[in-house]
């Protein structure tokens, strides 16, 4: 197993054992920033190297995943989970949106196996971040005209994760392979190490969700474990249909199967305040995230390989 994943386990154990190990918030911010920029830069450089066609069509297909997933999740949460409208909509938004950390572990997974992926993947990461949040809010609000959409969309679009991803993409694209050489030591060579430290903190955070899990328990745990694979299968199928490589198909599955824990919680807290924020966060961060990095990613890779007829 990739050693970065052990760092998550270490954080989880430390957190559950009530160690005094803490990552200062400033360091968490730095690590996030470096990961986002690195993913963006890498994607930008690839885009500069190999221009691609049909992006608009592919983009539409990807966007449609973002609109579809929350519509699938909502009835499950309401019906089977017996959650109220607000909580169900919140879960829908979280699972329709994406997790950058899971994507980063997926990228590391592919790099370990020398599997390349399509250069537009970071772009698709950006495309998938927003729509589900909008759908989630609509599901919760319906007729109510109380949502200040202008302000909200501005906050989502100019939220730091999109700014850094898109900014990195643009800089990587403008600078090209030559230009980013001097940035390589910080952003590319340190990538795995930075991801390791980041996952350590993610483990600590996931451990802090354990209490909620013990209380609200079984359904959230089942939900968090059972939902990602079908969602990822949708992602993989779309990826395969729009002609992505095995690597790209795997990553689109990872994106579809992952749940947001940065953009969605912030937006939903403001727009749907009556939703209990710890429900969605516990499912997304306490269950689905660990499931994905330990078991999900290899499964999604197997699915992608099968679709491409290359066996797993």
């Amino acid at each position: 197993m990739d050693p970065v994943i052990w760092f998550f386990a270490l954080g989880l154990v430390a957190g559950l054992a009530k160690s005094d190990l803490r990552m200062p918030p400033a360091i968490y911010d730095l690590l996030t920033m470096m990961l986002l920029l690195a993913i963006g830069l890498k994607g930008g450089v690839e885009l500069a190297k190999a221009p691609f066609g049909g992006l608009a069509l592919q983009g539409l297909a990807v966007l449609s995943i973002g609109f579809l997933i929350p519509l699938l999740i909502y009835p499950v949460a309401r019906g089977l989970g017996r959650f109220g409208r607000a909580d169900s909509a919140s879960l829908a938004a979280h699972y329709g949106s994406v997790s950058v950390a899971t994507f980063a572990v997926g990228v590391a997974f592919l790099a370990d196996r020398n599997i390349s992926y399509d250069s537009q993947m970071p772009l698709f990461l950006v495309l998938l971040e927003v729509p589900a949040i909008v759908v989630g809010i609509l599901l919760a609000r319906r007729a109510s005209t109380n949502v200040r959409w202008g302000k909200l969309l501005h906050e989502i679009f100019f939220g730091k994760s999109i700014v850094l991803l898109v900014g990195g993409l643009a800089i990587g694209w403008l600078a090209g392979p030559e230009g980013v050489m001097s940035l390589k030591p910080l952003f590319f060579d340190l990538f795995k190490g930075v991801l390791a430290l980041f996952l350590l903190e993610m483990g600590l955070i996931a451990a802090s969700q354990a209490k909620t899990l013990r209380r609200n328990g079984l359904f959230l745990a089942l939900f968090g474990v059972l939902v990602p694979v079908p969602l990822a299968a949708i992602g993989a199928t779309v990826g395969w249909m729009i002609g992505l490589s095995v690597g790209g198909t795997t990553l689109l599955a990872v994106l579809a199967g992952s749940a947001s824990y940065i953009a969605a919680p912030a937006a939903i807290r403001i727009a749907v305040p009556e939703a209990n924020p710890s429900l969605s966060l516990t499912a997304s961060l306490g269950v689905t995230f660990p499931f994905n990095i330990f078991f999900g990613i290899p499964i999604y890779y197997a699915i992608a390989s099968m679709l491409h007829g290359s066996g797993a």
Partner: protein
């Protein structure tokens, strides 16, 4: 220090509300505010800034009694039910009372 009295209104709430609350305070006419980061525990559980916006902020406003009532009332109506929040106030003597209408 002239014995001129104002209210010191203190709000402890979720960090995610900071932009909204600043806007509200300006709209209601407060001449200023002071914010610091905090953590804590209350009816909505433990809140710690260990991770992004999961912490609290502590907002202080020095203002007239009347404005303090209006701010408190606004907070109560818009945030009290859905967000972790407490509000309290006490009298303070201020230097340059004209700064705090």
């Amino acid at each position: 220090m002239p014995d001129e009295t104002r209210k010191l209104l203190t709000i402890v709430t979720e960090a995610v509300l900071e932009p909204d609350i600043c806007q509200t305070l300006e709209d209601l006419g407060a001449s200023g505010y002071t914010i610091s980061n905090a953590r804590g525990k209350g009816s909505r559980g433990v809140r710690d800034a260990g991770w992004s916006s999961s912490g609290n902020i502590r907002v202080e406003v020095v203002c007239s009694n009347n404005l303090a009532q209006r701010i408190a009332e606004h907070m109560r109506r818009h945030y009290y039910d859905d967000y972790a929040m407490i509000i309290f106030e006490n009298d303070v003597q201020v230097l340059r009372p004209e700064k705090f209408p």
